[in-house]
């Protein structure tokens, strides 16, 4: 281990997250490797190691001969300070080698608030932030993928290219092209022009963006043969897709420290606010037998005694009961805890919850999202208060005593009546507990949490404004005044972060200057409240002559060209606009299994979805 590093580690919190060497970490012989990838997650080790995509792609890349993929995470503030003071550049956890020496620097970006950490990690690596300042040599190639890259524009100045969609096939294709490029001595511009021909690859420098006087996009022009629309990539056959059985077992505790069994991708529901629900379409399931096999082998290989099922909506997995029965056989015998998150509030799901609980009654969590049936219909959240109360009646009578309910404030068409509806629903839950609790002496814990709605690209609400800060605060206050039951704890989300998230989510490439300015003012790890400071950002906007409200609080016209209009997730704007109109009429849209509503994602899998 590096001597300088050894000296600073005693001075930082949780040093184990900065040294690597975990069980199943991949260490290769450098002489047998010709392409080295620094796989960067712009957040801490504990968050990044909990990310399933990171684990999948780490395995996929390291399965390639001649390729060594290493992990890099953002240091916490104390570590960053020590690294800068002692001139230790950011390094790969497996080899300890500086990121600046790698061939590719690949970021996995799941959320907008990680953007400052991307810049900080480049800076800590000694790599120039802007791609134009990195010269024409092939190395280092800075790339990015992940859900946030459905609108890659705020990072357009900094990344050489973005991978849109699922990376299991796309990334190896890109690495293979990199091999060719190096063997034939291409420069970076030539590599980027050729890479833009791979489906899913978006090269920001090959697109020219012009603006109207009012700041909206006038035109996006593809240059040098780059495609007009970059269509996302996806895996058609989930059973054939890589599953991380031999996965790294961190020695220090991380957020999701368990085997994660990914049941399916996509979601049949179509909640109108949900970006994941649209961009991951269509639904593609793993077969039950494949899942059981992978789950058992992963437990045996890692020694984990916890397994969780993962998807956007667990209750919608077609063979869920049979899957749970098969897994329970193994789990009971080997003392492995099985958890089922993302369950719907219905009878079927409660049956399962009761069967899986085995004495332990952890809290129940539901996300009604809105306080009235009218608004739930408007956002197409297919949950009724009757279903919720029926589930809770059963749960309380069986001994559960802790319930969490999640809502959003500021959804399109929301009225004060809808907001007061949240408080009424909480009262109904308390009442339900009083009537049905099997053991009242234990008391009840009901937590209501609200967040501030952030409109996202590729949703039915991508045209909508985020409500103003003052209005958000008024609605929180209104709800607090109506939240009178003593058994209910009300938490509301801090406004500053959600506002900036709304700006960045639908931002254009002019925000690159703002990002850089905020970074220079000290924004390094802004996904954390410990470090986030909105004042810094507002100064940066002012310095760049841009108005954040233009991005967050403006209603877009139907035919407006979005900054992300060169990207396609398979679901067309025409469909999303129809969904928006239905929202204003409080009309629901049936789920994909009940009836196809023609979103267009079927074309991604050859014409027919297998929902």
């Amino acid at each position: 281990m590096d001597k300088k590093l050894e000296r600073i580690l005693p001075r930082v919190q949780k040093p184990a997250r900065y040294v690597g060497g975990e069980y199943n970490a991949v260490v290769k012989d450098k002489s047998q490797v010709d392409t080295r990838v620094a796989f960067c997650f712009p957040d801490t080790y504990e968050i990044g190691m909990s990310n399933l995509g990171m684990r999948i792609l780490y395995g996929v890349m390291n399965n390639m001969e001649g390729v060594w993929c290493e992990r890099v995470f953002a240091p916490w503030g104390d570590m960053e300070e020590q690294m800068r003071e002692h001139h230790i550049p950011l390094y790969g956890l497996e080899s300890g080698d500086p990121v600046g020496d790698f061939d590719m620097v690949a970021f996995s970006i799941g959320y907008e608030m990680a953007y400052p950490a991307v810049l900080n990690m480049l800076d800590l690596s000694g790599i120039p932030l802007r791609s134009e300042d990195r010269g024409t040599a092939l190395r280092p190639l800075v790339i990015a993928g992940g859900t946030a890259m459905y609108n890659p524009e705020p990072l357009a100045d900094f990344i050489d290219l973005a991978l849109i969609g699922e990376g299991e096939e796309e990334l190896p294709e890109l690495i293979a092209l990199y091999h060719t490029a190096r063997a034939e001595g291409w420069d970076k511009p030539r590599f980027l022009r050729t890479a833009s021909g791979i489906q899913g690859v978006y090269v920001p420098s090959l697109y020219d963006v012009t603006y109207h006087e009012d700041g909206t996009v006038a035109a996006i022009t593809a240059l040098d043969g780059a495609p007009e629309k970059v269509c996302k990539r996806l895996i058609r056959d989930m059973d054939g897709a890589y599953f991380p059985v031999k996965s790294i077992v961190p020695t220090t505790e991380i957020v999701h420290d368990r085997v994660t069994l990914e049941l399916f991708r996509g979601c049949i529901r179509g909640c109108r606010f949900c970006q994941a629900g649209y961009v991951y379409r269509p639904v593609r399931c793993r077969s039950k037998d494949k899942l059981v096999d992978c789950g058992i082998r992963a437990c045996e290989d890692t020694g984990y005694q916890e397994m969780t099922l993962s998807s956007l909506s667990t209750s919608d997995y077609p063979e869920l009961v049979a899957l749970c029965d098969d897994l329970a056989d193994y789990c009971d015998k080997h003392h492995v805890g099985l958890s089922l998150p993302s369950l719907r509030a219905d009878n079927f799901s409660m049956d399962l919850t009761e069967r899986m609980a085995r004495g332990r009654k952890a809290g129940l969590t539901f996300a009604p999202e809105a306080g009235s049936q009218r608004l739930r219909d408007a956002i197409n959240k297919n949950l009724t208060e009757e279903d919720l109360m029926e589930s809770l009646r059963r749960a309380f009578s069986k001994g559960w005593s802790s319930v969490k309910l999640y809502f959003m404030l500021g959804l399109p068409t929301e009225t004060d009546e809808d907001i007061i509806g949240i408080a009424e629903m909480a009262d109904h839950v308390v009442h339900c507990w009083r009537e049905h609790a099997s053991n009242k002496a234990r008391g009840v814990r009901i937590t209501v949490s609200t967040s501030w709605f952030v409109p996202k690209p590729f949703t039915a609400f991508q045209w909508e404004p985020q409500i103003s800060r003052a209005e958000y605060e008024r609605r929180v206050k209104l709800l607090r005044e109506h939240m009178t039951a003593r058994a209910v704890t009300y938490n509301w989300h801090d406004g500053d972060t959600s506002f900036l998230e709304a700006v960045l989510a639908r931002g254009d490439r002019r925000l690159g200057r703002v990002l850089e300015a905020a970074f220079r003012k000290g924004a390094h790890l802004d996904a954390w409240q410990d470090y986030f400071d909105l004042g810094r950002w507002l100064e940066a906007f002012q310095g760049c002559g841009l108005d954040p409200a233009f991005y967050a609080n403006r209603t877009r016209e139907k035919d407006e060209i979005f900054p992300w209009s060169m990207i396609s997730c398979g679901v067309g704007d025409g469909y999303l606009w129809r969904e928006r109109e239905r929202a204003y009429q409080s009309l629901t849209t049936p789920d994909c299994r009940t009836q196809c509503s023609g979103c267009g994602a079927n074309k991604m899998v050859g014409g027919e979805c297998h929902v």
Binding site: M1, P10, P15, A16, E22, V249, T252, E253, E300, H335
Partner: protein
């Protein structure tokens, strides 16, 4: 059911694994090795693993001891063989046998305290440090049972100190009392920093080399 005491080394990157994390690491390693460890009784059973003398984060050791029991009777060398591929980098299983003596008979700890001086070892450092640590009193700040930092004389717990130059570092080979009360060998370096400021090292590394019983033999 059989009881065992595992001897293992904790070195390299593994020195940064904390006590609690090490416990979890061994729990998982036993599962990977297909061995069933005796669990506690009760509502939330957990495997009973006990480190004889917990090691501070950042310190290396070639002589750690872990007590546990298995449900089936497995030869000690087979345990070492099965555990070896299941441990993370830096943790090596060395030997495994039934505990010979109860933990209360652990008496002393031998360790190497490596003092690094970037500008070279100061003149006469070895003698001065030995004189300090083997003098009448060695007062350092130590956490008491109420978790408050108080000045404590650790001299009664220091049994032996030898100093030698090793690869441009000053290497102190020390023997200290292991328990009731024990002293962390790192506190000897802290004493140097406090009482001999000109000999303050630029870096300190501690490595445990042996645990001894009251007769001076290896504690097993």
């Amino acid at each position: 059911m059989s009881e065992y005491r595992l001897v293992f080394a904790k070195e390299g990157r593994a020195v940064w694994i904390s006590h609690l994390d090490l416990l979890r690491t061994f729990q998982r390693a036993f599962i990977r090795a297909g061995m069933v460890i005796k669990h506690s009784q009760g509502f939330h059973p957990h495997p009973i693993l006990s480190f004889v003398l917990p090691l501070s984060v950042g310190q290396a050791s070639g002589c750690e001891l872990l007590d546990f029991a298995t449900q089936e009777d497995i030869p000690g060398d087979e345990i070492v063989r099965r555990l070896t591929p299941c441990l993370p980098e830096g943790i090596r299983a060395l030997a495994c046998q039934a505990p010979v003596k109860p933990v209360r008979e652990l008496d002393a700890l031998q360790a190497e305290v490596r003092l690094t001086y970037d500008g070279g070892i100061p003149q006469g450092a070895g003698e001065k440090i030995c004189a300090l640590l083997l003098g009448e009193h060695v007062v350092v700040e130590k956490r008491n049972k109420k978790k408050r930092m108080v000045d404590t004389d650790i001299r009664p717990m220091i049994r032996a100190v030898f100093a030698q130059e090793d690869d441009r570092d000053l290497l102190l080979s020390v023997t200290v009392q292991a328990q009731n009360p024990g002293v962390n060998p790192a506190l000897l370096a802290a004493a140097v920093e406090r009482h001999l400021p000109p000999l303050r090292p630029d870096a300190v590394q501690v490595r445990r080399t042996a645990m001894l019983d009251g007769t001076g033999k290896l504690f097993r």
